[in-house]
Amino acid sequence: MPHRRSTEIIWMKIRVVFLSLVVAALAACDNKSEIKVYRVSKAPLEEEAPGQQNAIPANAPSPSMPGGMAPTTTTASVRVPPNWEPQPLSQMRQASFLVKGDKGAIADISFVSLGASAGNVLENVNRWLSQIGQPPIDEQKLNQIAQKLSTSIGDVTVVDLVGLPNDADPNKDGRIIAATTTNGTSTLFFKIRGNATLTESQKSEFIKWLSAVCNAQITNKPAQSEAMLPPSGNPQIKWQAPSGWSEVPPSSMRYASFSAGANENKIDISVITFPGEGGSDADNVNRWRQQIGLPPMTPASIATQVSELKSPDTTFSVVDMAGANARTLAAWTRRDGHVWFIKATGPNTAVEKEKSNFVKFIQSVRF
């Protein structure tokens, strides 16, 4: 008996010490100092599934609805098949319809207009494929399956995708016919998604409808300068962007951003303004030189590198700097208490190719 009693005491002590350690460890735990790694979708804003009108990933750029592209002006004049039932519009959708077939089959039709940077065609097609549980494809495969539809605002890429996600209702899902086009200031998405048979039966009507909507855009398209108006409160300038440049959303430090070229030949063009003088020319030029791996120069040497370029309202100082791998074209002017910097940076050959466009862009700036 005494032996059994002492064993109980030892076990009791072990339990007490173990519990104490557990509680102490919990109290010392700090889960707010961990570095976390996660993956999030970069897909642009768009609806997800039939009947889910506002299902949009939020980690994407804000929706853009350029003036003159409101639903009443762009789609009201377009004939809609009588069996397409209009659905309530959301902020994202400029048109929304539901088609009903036999035995509860449905298909959802949408028209969405987003900003110019709403992803390229391949990214969007792969996103649609993932929505119906299909693996992504590459550019070559895309060229095989995509069809071009000619409209008054340019070619529209049309894809017809088949697949049923796991656990999905075949009455509501199984096929996506989607079309997209970009007109420089906005990207248009047309989509019909739903029961495979019903979607197939609506294909010709869908193509006719999207062609009519695209053709209706041309009369409502806003002027380039209107679509690029900066936020109120900032000083405003206007310009004429070269045709090969696409505007990208500016950061809070940038007045406007453009990109030209693709992949390794992509160049970044920025328009930045600050109140005041914005530092000395020598400091600015040396900072830009440092960014592309060039050594600093004396103010006197820099003065010899700077040339002048006239625009209708002002004269810009311009400098062209080429490093081993990168080149920067920079132009700046001071006007009405603000300094304006316009800069293009990218690989040497790409910048050389865009230099004439850069000069034209500077010359088009109006205050």
């Binding site: 790694v37 970069k42 299902a55 939020a58 109140p275 530092g279």
Partner: protein
């Protein structure tokens, strides 16, 4: 030695000391809210192992009192240890056991809530959709790998790691991040506004044209700090890509290339992503007639969860939160002339603990007093007979 430790943790004196220390801590912490604000006071007094003096700004600091975590943990150990040591099963002690079990669940639930509950906010303007909430009191440095066509890989480095000033070397990044300067609260100005002689702390991105001024940390309840840091990107194969200024006052992420990939960096409020999205359809702010006194706030939202095939409208209003996937969305506030709603998002795995604990304690007390009542009644009947 072990016997002394067990005796210490099972003594009633320790219970009394802990309860007294807890009362003193609550009193001091409540007074400290006047100068520190509720958040900072909670951090320093209740969500800490020790209360330090002076708190910051000096080269030394000494612990002057046990913090909330330490007192709570010792009290919990004391309760469990005492119960474990003296536990003898008997039906007539059922009430005592239940009451103690309820108290243990209450204390453990409080500790778990403090350690694992996450409070954040979701701010939505009408028509906005978000699949993440943000913690306005904690910042993170988000380093985003944009190489993949569909997904961005985000490495989120908490502000507390930047604050240590150490060089960050993480498996997900092909470069190290050296923190050259760190400001818990700051004011950013362009160099021209800052005056002559002020140098930027960064040489890349917009930070090369910005002066950073350190300002004291705010203690106001309706303000938050604007932390800033200068970080140098050091590729693991050698060299330096330069130094960037990061601050949420800069807004959009900055970009750079490293190892053949495009990266984005941004200091932003800590984000908690969700597998579903919430869209604000309508926000209603009713007032009592003829006054500015609020009567009701309500947010009509659409909840969409593609994984679970959920798409439904929900009305969130005071005392009627939305509970979904272990998170609770409360109506917390509004902004911009009622155009935006603010939902408090609480993830608390142990939110049931207080309810369960109260039920068990109540049941224990009922049983205990019931046993005494029955015993008393029997004695009285026997005496009468």
């Amino acid at each position: 030695m072990l016997r002394k430790i067990v005796d210490l943790f099972t003594s009633l004196k320790l219970t009394i000391v802990c309860l007294a220390a807890g009362m003193a801590l609550i009193f001091a912490g409540t007074l400290a809210q006047v100068h520190l604000g509720i958040h900072e006071a909670q951090q320093r007094y209740f969500q800490s192992m020790l209360v330090w003096w002076p708190a910051e700004g000096q080269s030394f600091k000494i612990p002057i009192f046990p913090g909330g975590h330490l007192i709570g943990a010792v009290l919990l150990v004391n309760l469990i240890a005492t119960h474990t040591k003296r536990f003898r099963w008997a039906w007539k002690k059922l009430g005592i056991h239940l009451t103690h079990a309820g108290l243990i669940i209450m204390l453990a639930g409080g500790l778990f809530t403090d350690l694992f509950a996450v409070e954040s906010h979701m701010r939505l303007e009408r028509g906005d959709t978000k699949n993440y909430s943000e913690d306005q009191r904690h910042m993170e440095l988000a380093v985003i790998d944009t190489a993949d066509n569909d997904l961005d890989q985000v490495t989120a480095i908490p502000e507390s790691v930047l604050r240590t000033g150490r060089t960050i070397d993480h498996w997900s990044l092909p470069f190290r991040i050296a923190v050259r300067n760190y400001y818990p609260n700051s004011r950013l100005q362009t160099l021209s506004q800052a005056g002559t002689g002020v140098r930027p702390i960064a040489n890349q991105g917009p930070g090369a044209m910005i002066a950073v001024e350190a300002v004291p940390r705010t203690t106001a309840q309706d303000e938050r700090d604007v932390p800033a840091a200068a970080i140098e990107i050091l590729p693991k194969d050698g060299g330096s890509l330069g130094t960037w200024l990061v601050s949420d006052a800069l807004g959009a992420p900055q970009t750079f290339s490293c190892c053949g990939r495009q990266w984005k960096i941004a200091m932003r409020t800590a984000r908690y992503y969700k597998p579903y999205s919430v869209t604000l359809q309508k926000f209603t702010h009713e007032k009592y007639a003829g006054t500015e006194i609020p009567k009701n706030f309500a947010s009509k939202v659409t909840l969409i969860d593609p994984e679970r095939n959920v798409s439904r409208d929900v009305l969130i209003y005071m005392n009627h939160p939305l509970r979904y996937r272990g998170e609770t969305f409360y109506q917390a506030g509004f902004q911009q002339d009622d155009r935006a709603t603010i939902l408090q998002v609480v993830h608390n795995p142990s939110f049931l603990a207080p309810y369960v604990a109260c039920i068990i304690v109540a049941a224990g007390l009922l049983v205990q007093f019931g046993i005494h009542l029955v015993g008393f009644a029997r004695k009285r009947r026997t005496a009468t007979a």
